[in-house]
Structure formats: C-alpha cells, structure tokens
C-alpha cells in the first residue's frame, strides 16, 4: 500500500500503514514516531536527520535517546500526537525542530532535564497542560528556552504554577482559552521571566485572566503588537503590581508592552461535540465583529497569528435548513445519523462506512478555497476516520484524511475530486485533486468557485483493502 508522503526526509512514519519492523522508507514506513526517532538518532549520530511523519494518530511519548542531538520532526498531513495515557508528549529532544504537528491531551507537554525545549513551527496544541515542563533543570544557570512560531494553543490551561517559562519566544501564536504562564484565576509562577510574545493573540472568556506574568521589565518580558479580548483581566508583578481589568490605558502604561490592542473577538460556536482532533472552535466566523477587526490596521498584523483560522464559515450537525450537511438543509445521508457521540456517526452496526453528500453550498461569489477543515473524533485510532474510498485501482489510498468535492460557478455536477482536510486544495488541469494519490504537482492551480458540494465519508476501516 503506497503511503502518499509529500515531504522529503531520511526516515518515514505512518501510523496507518506502517510497521516498526520496517526500514522506515516511504514504501515501508515505521508505525511510531519513536521508531523513526531511534533510527534517525542512530543514522546521523542524532544530527541533520529529518523524520517525516504521515497522517495518523500517534498515542506515544516522543522520546529522545539523549539531550544533545538535533532532529527535524516534520508532519506530513494530519499528524496528531495524542498524549492520552502518556506522562508527556515529548521526552527531551532539546534542540529538535517540530513542524506541522498537532499535540493533544497530555498532562505535561515535555519532560526531561536540560536547557532547551526545542523549536515549533505551525504546530497546534490542544488540551495540553499549559506549556508544562516536568523534571526540567530550572536552575539559574540552565534556563528553559524554546521557540514557537505560527502555533495555536487551544484549551491549554495551566493547571499548576510549579513550572515556569524562561527565555521562550512566541511569535505569531494564538492562545485560545488559555494562557502561556498562569492559571485562570490569575496565579503565576513568580520565577518566569524573559519571554517574548510578538504578534500574538490572547483569547479567554469574558472575566478571565488573559495574561499573567511577574517580571515585565526586569528580565525583559516583551509584549509586542499583541491583541487581547475585551473584558478580561491581567496580572503582572512589576514594575508596578497590577491585578485588574485589562484596559487600553493599562497596556499603554506598561513599558514592556508596545503596539498592543484590545478588541472584541468572535469565534465559531456552531460546532459541538468533542472534536478532539481539530481546533475549529478557535476559528473566526464571518461577521461584523471580525470585519471590524480586519479593518483595523493596528490589529491586522497580530491577527495574523490566527493564520488560516480566520475568518471561516462553519457547518455543524444542527438540524437546520441552512445547514448543507444536514438532511434538513438538503444533504443526503447514507448510513449516517446524528447520535449520542455528538455530531454525525455511522448508523448501521457492522457498516464499513457512512457518507454525507452535502447540499450545494452557494458562497455568493467565486472564491479561492484556502482550506476546508473538519472536526472529528474516534474511538478507534488509525482504523476509523473521515476519509475517502477512491475508486478502481486507487482504492488502496486511504492513508490520509480526505474528502471529495465538486465545484463550479454554476451548480456542480459530474465527478468529485479528492482533497485532504486542513490543507490548501489544488487541482490539476485534468481535475485531479491534491488529496488524490494521482495528483501531479507539475502543474496545478487553486480551486476557485462559487458553488461547492462535498462528499464526506466516515470509514470504519483504513486498511486500504476495500
């Protein structure tokens, strides 16, 4: 079974099609990230090796053999590191660079003992205990250092103030329903210092603490061009102790904060259920509030931290004539119900799949489709997922999370093309979608259309044998 990797590296991992007894090649990938890491550390003495991780759910703690090597862990597709039942998401890996990976459900993000916690680019974090570290050497001579760029943190509440952050950079990051250092009640570890927050967005519900930190001037904490929501609180220790509602005046009076703004925010609320493997609730809808945000040049740049999270249109499972996913809105279901799990689920016992064929979605005018994401959860990791049943000889290609779509500037008809969730959809001149294994990257263009129709298949088998 081909595994459809699009990134290049030294070793390859696929939770769906891999096996740890394999050689770690594209055709014979490992099954766990840890196996890929072990091979990479051995091959390059731990240096200049890239481990490409394919679509799948990895219920493991990524473990480095030592504290000094350097690896790149490159996500390729929808890569979810699920810390359920694990002590942490990562052990050591001090100098590693993680790219395009989603970390969820961990009591501690990274454990070990050393100086650095790594670099993270375009990573997502959900239900991680803050940026919590365990057993870390936090003596005055060995401080924690890390870099997070274009990352999103959702529901990463700090449960304990025992651990602190030092000399960590957050650039273009979003903190949704959580804060990097401190609890919802405003408590913080007074030893955190020297952190940089640039072009970051902090969102918490009204009345909560959106930012807490002791050292603001001493030891150089910097808040630069950040955006905070209305009606939140902040707490900082110096130069003047402050524990009160956050106002624009308070930001302007804080010497370590420059270019920061307070703004009303609005997020999509019509997706319900656990949605463990997505961050759709942190996306912004299209409405007057977000329009005002985008119209404010002082806020546009910090809003860049939302990346492709805003602004977006969402459709959930609600029974509404305006919902193109629901039969009330014109969708067609095969083996689908809305049930007790929350959301859509396969209805028939023993059925291998269920399919939602959406109603035609009218966007009003032709638009470039930047991304279509999904919100889902499963009790059978790597065996069940929203993916496709490619036809004919390509029916061995279920190794990524995919959907089908047809589109046009009139009511779409004809064949559907295959695309991958949470990626920019492209299409070849012959109509092959970028989620299809036959997609040729030699010549392609964006999907630009007014009308969309999606076919979403929930699979109970991802083996590729059907």
């Amino acid at each position: 079974m081909a595994n459809h990797f699009t990134k290049t590296g030294n070793f390859y991992v696929s939770a769906i099609g891999g096996n740890d007894s394999n050689a770690g090649t594209t055709d014979a990938p490992f099954k766990t990230i840890s196996a890929g890491v072990t091979a990479a550390e051995a091959a390059g003495s731990g240096y200049s090796q890239t481990v490409v991780v394919g679509t799948g759910i990895y219920n493991e703690k990524i473990t480095a053999a030592n504290t000094t090597d350097y690896l790149v862990i490159q996500g390729d597709g929808n890569v979810i590191v699920d810390g359920t039942g694990q002590a942490a998401s990562i052990y050591q890996g001090h100098y590693w660079h993680y790219k395009d990976i989603t970390f969820v459900n961990a009591p501690v993000f990274i454990e070990g003992n050393g100086t650095y916690i790594g670099t993270y680019t375009r990573c997502k974090f959900k239900n991680i205990n803050g940026i919590n570290l365990s057993n870390w050497n936090v003596s005055s001579n060995k401080n924690v250092k890390g870099i997070f760029v274009n990352c999103v943190f959702v529901d990463c509440e700090v449960a304990s103030t025992i651990i602190y952050l030092r000399y960590t950079t957050f650039r273009n990051c979003t903190f949704y329903n959580g804060r990097p250092n401190g609890t919802v009640t405003g408590a913080y570890n007074a030893s955190s210092l020297g952190n940089l927050y640039s072009n970051c967005l902090f969102y918490v519900p009204s009345g909560s603490y959106s930012f807490t930190n002791n050292y603001m001037i001493n030891y150089g904490t910097v808040l630069q061009d950040c955006v905070f929501p209305s009606n939140t609180k902040v707490k900082w220790g110096q130069p003047t102790s402050f524990d009160a509602d956050l106002t624009q005046q308070a930001l302007d009076d804080q010497p370590s904060a420059t270019g920061c703004r307070i703004a009303s925010m609005s997020f999509n609320g019509n997706i319900t259920g656990s949605g463990a493997f997505n961050l759709i609730e942190a996306t912004m809808p299209l409405n007057s509030i977000t329009k005002e945000l985008y119209a404010n040049s002082n806020i546009v740049i910090p809003l860049g931290s939302m990346g492709n999270l805003a602004p977006r249109t969402t459709y959930g499972e609600d029974a509404s004539s305006a919902n193109p996913l629901h039969t009330d809105g014109g969708a067609t279901w095969a083996n689908i119900i809305t049930g007790s799990l929350g959301g859509f689920q396969i209805s028939a016992s023993g059925a291998l799949s269920g399919t939602i064929t959406s109603a035609v979605i009218d966007q009003g005018t032709p638009k470039v489709i930047k991304n279509i994401g999904s919100s889902w959860n499963t009790t059978s990791a790597n065996a069940a997922a929203p993916s496709t049943y490619p036809s004919g000889s390509n029916n061995y290609n279920p190794t990524r999370y995919q959907y089908e779509m047809r589109y046009g500037n009139s009511t779409p008809s004809g064949d559907y093309s295959i695309f991958e969730w949470d990626t920019i959809p492209y299409v070849n001149s012959n109509g092959t979608g970028s989620g299809d294994q036959l997609f040729d990257t030699g010549s392609y263009e964006n999907v630009l259309a007014r009308y969309l129709q999606l076919r979403i298949t929930l699979r109970n088998d991802m083996s590729g044998s059907i």
């Binding site: 860049g304 059925a351 005018t365 489709i369 109970n460």
Partner: protein, 164 residues
C-alpha cells in the same frame, strides 16, 4: 456475505426504532464527525498605494472602491478615502470580486480598474495604482503636416513652413 447483509438489514430495521438505534450506533460507529469549516474569502486586506509614473506617492487623491457584492458572507464594502502623505489608503474590508476602483487626482487622468490580488495568506496586500498625466500638447490641431509632407508636433500652435 450472508452475515454482512444480515447486519445491514439489522441496522436499517433499527432506524425506525430510534431509542434502540442510538445505543447500537454508539457501538458501531467509531468516528463522530462534528462538522466542517470552509476558509474561502475574496476580501481585500491591506492598502492601496497611489503613485505617479515616476513612483512618487500621490497625496490627496480620491479613491473610491465600489463592490457589486451583496452576499452576507462576503466582506463587501464601498470605501471612499483620500490618500495620505504617503499616497496610501487602507482598503481592508473591500472585496476583490466585482469591485471597481476609481482614482481621481488633480493633474492626473482618472483611473478606473479592478481591485486586484488575492493573497492566500489573507494579510497585508498592497496594490499599487500608477496615475498618468494627460499627454502634453495632445490637441490634434498641434500636430501638423508640413508643406513637404512630414508630420511634426508643434506645442506652440504656430504655423510651420519647412524650407528646402
């Protein structure tokens, strides 16, 4: 195969019995799907820079952005603004579809054109519009054919006689 078909029929039969159906569905369905999010926009997010043909900013130009869009999910918006000292206006919120930009400035030919550019990142677009000045001496009466049949431009509008 017989078992497989039997399970399917069992499922279909239970569809009419909603209470029982829910319980069995939980056992059978390993995946719950909550919904989708579509990121598709055609709003303009950034500034418009007005310059002359030498690349110098044109301050005080009137920029009108008119969109024909009416759909609620679009960032349609009609904007009228005067360029600042840097020749810039903020156009965030305008649409890039069905939109006409009209720029008028004293001493320049009026510009009428579309709002161009869709940056997939969605941020910090800047479209530059270059204004031109009316052609000097453009009046036809200042273009002469001499007595020897040669065409000359004479901005002073005087009679020309080409001598041997």
């Amino acid at each position: 195969m017989a078992i497989y078909n039997g399970l399917q029929m069992f499922g279909i039969g239970i569809v009419n019995a909603n209470t029982s159906f829910q319980g069995i569905a939980v056992e059978a369905a390993n995946t719950s799907f909550q919904g989708i999010v579509i990121d598709a926009h055609n709003f303009y997010n950034g500034n418009i820079l007005i310059t002359d043909s030498d690349g110098q900013a044109v301050a005080g130009a009137t920029v009108e952005i008119v969109s024909t869009q009416t759909h609620v999910n679009n960032y349609e918006g009609d904007i009228t603004a005067i360029t600042n000292a840097d020749g810039m206006i903020e156009a965030t919120g305008s649409s890039t579809t069905g939109t006409t930009v009209t720029v008028t400035a004293a001493g320049y030919t009026t510009h009428v054109g579309p709002l161009q550019g869709i940056d997939l990142s969605g941020f910090n677009d800047t479209q530059t519009i270059v204004l031109t000045k009316p052609t000097a001496g453009g009046s036809s009466k200042k273009i002469y054919t001499t007595n020897k049949g040669n065409v000359l431009i004479n901005p002073n509008d005087t009679i020309l006689i080409e001598l041997n």
